[in-house]
């Protein structure tokens, strides 16, 4: 560790008088090296669990250990010491946070013999984060695509981590307070405001989840830089998913590192055009639809939130840029939807062809008597007012396809009020107030999707729903 910011120091017994550590001006200390480091990074919170092991020599009797973390973002309340071996011979008698040195603590360790033991120090830090991002390249015919997933780990914690095993947690951890805020407070204050629930929750969420940590698997591993891309192992862990990057990584403070987490070369893709005002705005958009499943060469893990860059291959190895989109967590088997925006080669027009009103009812003398206009029984009443009517609007949803491929267009429109949607289209209700219909439009072709929207107004309105009828 070159530029270490936090250290563990074994204070020499020569300078310790009756177990009192403080008030001395002279210190003699030894600095045991870090043996192994494991980082478990949560992307839902600014939170990383660090577990580091060191080999420390203990003499029989009392052994003071000092742990300090100046200029880092460690949560002081989270620091814990455990003995990985010889646990029966070693015991932490007390932990002291000196009042004048906020980013430091002392442990007094009682040893039954002169021995050497591996200790594990674990703590939470903020400032280390990871994020997923994806690159999608469709083939020229847009029948399939290649999807590569990446994870990018950024270290702004103030501490460089070398040869660390990196594990990434996909899922949302429940935290009652942000660790970064805690780290910037004096220990005493943190202690005072600490709540039992806070500790329980965080420990439950993070430490217990990490209990099966495979630190020992890394121990003694000979790291040889390999000229093939590292694998990212994925495993389920309760409500979370854990990505473990093969081997070890060094991430200096301030740096970010991006590694490939998966590469699916032949993902089947469906190209669909959709009009859904609520989801995509007031225009017809083009979408790539794919699935996070085995058939796609994906499906081994959920796909975490991240930015997706979408390209299409053209001839001569070149790319066309299509869009940059964000995707939300995609469970295994679920659909991935990439909105590519408007296609200038597809014209989408809604033409209002005709309007008429019928079934008009007039209210007589502001009373409760209603008469239908034109039913023959009506006596002209000069004070009658129109109280209800049906409005018929005949629309043509025209789609012109100037692309060189047949396209599928799906239209969903919402209609407020008491509405009947009448057409010869294969229309169906999406919900109580919106209707869906679709069409295949041949390359260079045109579709005229005619339909009538009948809205019952005023006295005639009896429902709040759209009824779909044929004809």
């Amino acid at each position: 560790m070159k530029n270490f910011r936090h250290t563990i120091v074994l204070l020499s017994v020569l300078l310790i008088c009756s177990g009192t550590l403080f008030g001395k001006n002279l210190d003699l200390s030894t600095v045991p090296d870090r043996d192994q480091v494991q980082l478990t990074i949560y992307n839902s919170e600014d939170l990383t669990l660090v577990r580091e092991t060191r080999v420390v020599s203990f003499k029989k009797g009392m052994n003071p250990l000092q742990f300090s973390w100046a200029n880092t973002l460690i949560d002081p309340t989270s620091v814990e010491l455990e003995f990985r071996d010889k646990a029966g011979q070693l015991q932490v008698l007390d932990t002291t946070f000196p009042h004048d040195k906020p980013q430091m603590l002392y442990w007094n360790v009682q040893s039954d013999s002169n021995t050497e033991a591996r200790i594990e120090i674990s703590y939470f830090t903020s400032g280390i984060s990871w994020a997923g991002d994806y690159v999608v390249i469709a083939n020229p015919g847009e029948t399939g695509l290649r999807m590569e997933g990446f994870v990018r780990v950024s270290n702004r914690s103030g501490e460089p981590y070398e040869n660390a095993q990196v594990r990434l947690v996909v899922g949302k951890i429940n935290l009652v307070e942000k660790i970064a805020e805690l780290a910037r407070m004096p220990v005493a204050k943190v202690k005072k405001m600490e709540k039992r629930e806070y500790k329980q929750l965080r420990h439950k969420a993070a430490r217990r989840a990490m209990a099966p940590a495979a630190m020992d698997a890394v121990a003694g591993m000979v790291m040889e830089e390999s000229a093939v891309p590292k694998q990212v192992e994925k495993e389920g862990l309760g409500e979370y998913f854990l990505y473990t990057i093969e081997g070890r990584e060094s991430i200096p403070n301030g740096w970010s590192k991006r590694l490939r987490s998966f590469d699916a070369a032949k993902v089947p893709v469906e190209v669909v055009y959709r009009y859904r005002r609520q989801e995509y705005g007031n225009s017809l958009v083009r979408l790539y639809l794919l699935r996070n499943d085995d058939k796609s060469g994906l499906g081994s893990t959920p796909i975490p939130n991240g930015k997706v860059q979408v390209f299409r291959q053209n001839d001569s190895n070149g790319l066309s840029y299509l869009a940059t989109r964000s995707i939300k967590y995609v469970p295994i088997g679920d659909r991935i939807e990439l909105n590519l925006g408007k296609d200038p080669e597809v014209v989408f027009e809604l033409i209002k062809e005709k309007v008429f009103r019928d079934n008009i009812w007039v209210r007589i003398k502001k009373g409760r008597v209603y008469k239908k206009v034109g039913d023959g029984s009506f006596i002209v009443d000069h004070k009658g007012t129109v109280a209800g009517w049906d409005e018929h609007q005949k629309f043509n949803q025209r789609i012109r396809n100037y692309t060189d491929q047949s396209i599928r267009v799906e239209v969903r429109r919402g209609y407020p009020g008491d509405v009947t949607f009448r057409s010869c289209l294969d229309a169906k209700s999406h919900d109580y107030r919106s209707v869906e219909f679709s069409a295949e439009v041949a390359a260079g072709g045109r579709a005229d999707l005619r339909h009538e929207v009948i809205t019952r107004n005023g006295y005639n309105a009896k429902q709040q729903r759209v009824k779909v009828v044929g004809g």
Binding site: D133, S154, E225, S226, A227, V228, P229, K230, S250, P252, N253, G254, W255, S256, K257, R258, L259, R260, K307, Q309, F311, N314, S316, N317, G318, L319, S320, Y321, T324, G341, K342, P344, E345, V347, I351, K352, E353, K354, V355, F356, R357, I360, V362, R363, K371, V373, G374, F378, V380, D381, H382, G384, T385, V386, W389, E391, Q393, K394, R400, Y402
Partner: protein
Amino acid sequence: MNIKHVLLLLLLAIPLEGWARIKLITLPVRERVEIQLDHASATLVEEERIVPLVRGINQVDFSWANTRIDSDSILFRMLPAVSEAEVDAKVLSVSYPPNENALVWSVGADRSGSARVRISYLLGGLDKSFHYRAVASKDETSLRLSQFLRLKNYSNESYDQGQLWVGFGDRLQRPVGLNETKDMLLKQYAEVQIQKRYTVDVSKYGYIQEAKKKLKVPMHYVLKNDAANGLGQAALPFGKARIFQQDGKGGTTFVGEDWGHFTPRDDEMQLYLGVARDIVVKRTIERRERKKISGNLYNYDVVVKYEVENFKDKPVTLDIQEQLPRLRAELGFNNRRDVQWRLGGETTLPGSPDAEKSDADKLLFHVGLEARKGADKAKKQTYRLHLVLQNEWR
């Protein structure tokens, strides 16, 4: 070339902590550059380079000081080997140093040799627009349309030989210099049939003399973007059109300019040339009669009269357009309901409304106007549009 972004190959296996210390580097040059302008709002640059690699892990450094490269968009793709000399290599990881516009790719190679790579990125400040130059024939029946691409390069990066692609037409091979604005001819259409269109629409164009109810008569050149008219190969992008007319003596005269709107295939691009002063159209609402149905429910019997004089010595076609919600508002009542209407029997406008361009809210008639004969007074032609606005109430 004032290189602002560079690709470096760090020849030694330098750990990242050794960054910005002693380096031995090679500078692989650009073999080919493609500038993809086919996206509506983003410019994608692709550079092909041949990178020498040694067996094992190589650090390839890419930095872009003072340019507006979108760092998240940078892609590094190994192209398939085409010869024995080229090695098959793989990107292992990418590292991003703090506070620098740079990144380092770790590339693993199974043997020493060179690899062809494509680096692509979205570049800000390299923007495109389109414009047109149209030269109409003296008789104004056709025009020569030239379509230009204008590239403004304020990206702080230059490209010696960039291949430009706008998504249609030919690929252009041009150098793109720093802070340059470049106009490039994309396509020329020699004989585009045009229609000279005179239109009246009180809602859209208003009056030229409101007190006398005289309507403004704008004149447009109309180009239909289809094969029959010499176009139709792609949508025409938005852009300014400068219009000239041949003077019959070998020269041309500038007659105006207008914004040409985005025009899909089979649609019309209208270029406004000005107001025609020698076609006079007076529009009056000749009749407004309310017919009670019952209670407060009425039909309105309306006749709109157009008195048209063509002072030109040529016959022309006048488009008479009525926006029905506006007509209803003119009658003194307005509401948010759609207008229910039918054509009345007293309509004298010729033919029937244009079926393609008329709809529930708009009516369009094409009216042929006779030419003025010699020095005679122009013949006043009177047309009536009889409409029944049905089922209206306040």
